[in-house]
Symmetry: C2
Subunit: 211 residues, 2 copies
């Protein structure tokens, strides 16, 4: 099922040895990743170029290679960076103690806002399915694992019913991803993140059956 | 956001004028679409070739052009064909009158079975996001519209609570798509379509909140 053009993970390390050690280096890395998000988001992996990224970042072409070995390497770094940013956006919305269902509601609202402000996140993560399948799968597996941890905590606190497991975590992730696609990516300007998150939260709390 | 390589819908018609008029023609078209599913599923759009498709189909290269103008055209035809097949798989599971929730459970179980027997369906529809964005969006919009119709019927019958709308349809579709990804595509051999569909159906019926 893997394309010939997919990144070969054996051939390239996770780029760990190129991590910057100074604040200036970290700022340049940040500039490169932000520029890569725009370049890959607008052009897609195959049409995107390293020179397109360095021009957008305002750094010299040679500087790129201080941080990444190749277009494949920065794409992989970007998927990982976006996966972390999605996680951070949800976490930052959880500032105080709250119920398990309120956590899910706020995490979804934060994700919807993040996606509407970073619409390229869908295209880049989705393209990873073809360009870097391992990163694509890792993104969803770690996201589902986080949701599952929250469900476990909610069950332990007696707020959620027993028996929730992996399938429920994947179901919730799917709801969130498709609500983001429908509203944050394809929506008109009329939708409201809190309203959508509340509708989904009500479904999550008590379902769609007649009460 | 569109790639330079994305199919230009203006330049090519929906291929309607090449529809076969004889049974033999329809059989050949079927062979070409089945072969295209394997070719695009294994190689991806960019690496796939028309000669790869005709070889797998066991038809002459020239025959291809009786049915399709280009690789783009057969890819678009295939996405439409798979979208219809997904719809048919769910519909065929609904053989007798049943409750709104039972309809959702059976439709999901049928989809999970279909996806596990046609694992290429994910890759092909997902690649349409890049190769043929209009078909990608149309697939999800029509799928969500079908779910929404079922929700409307369930509300009208008094089986589902009031106020279910587009967001709920997209949430349910997202659940189904991600359960398919987790189990039908990435799952080991141990999962059971009916068991997963029942877990999802319980979530749908009454949520995850403590009762």
């Amino acid at each position: 099922m893997e394309q010939g053009t997919a990144i070969k993970r054996d051939e390239e390390s996770a780029n760990g040895d190129k991590s910057p050690r100074t604040d200036r280096g970290r700022r340049t890395l940040r500039k490169l990743l932000d520029a890569a998000a725009i370049e890959f988001g607008e052009k897609g992996f195959y049409e995107a170029s390293i020179s397109g990224i360095t021009q957008r970042a305002g750094v010299a072409l040679g500087t790129f290679y201080t941080y990444f070995d190749s277009k494949d390497a920065i794409f992989r770094g970007l998927v990982n960076d976006m996966s972390e940013a999605v996680k951070r956006a949800a976490r930052e919305a959880l500032t105080e103690p709250m119920s398990a269902l309120e956590i899910e509601r706020r995490a979804l609202a934060a994700f919807l806002r993040f996606a509407s402000e970073h619409k390229e996140v869908y295209r880049i993560i989705d393209e990873a399915e073809f360009v870097d399948p391992a990163s694509y799968r890792a993104h969803y597996e770690t996201t589902a694992a986080r949701i599952r941890e929250r469900l476990e905590a909610g069950m332990a606190a007696g707020e959620l019913r027993d028996g929730l497991g992996e399938a429920h975590a994947w179901a919730i992730m799917g709801m969130n991803v498709f609500l983001g696609l429908r509203y944050a990516i394809w929506g008109s300007s009329e939708w409201d993140a809190d309203e959508i998150a509340s509708l989904a939260n009500e479904l999550l709390q008590s379902g769609v059956g007649k009460r």
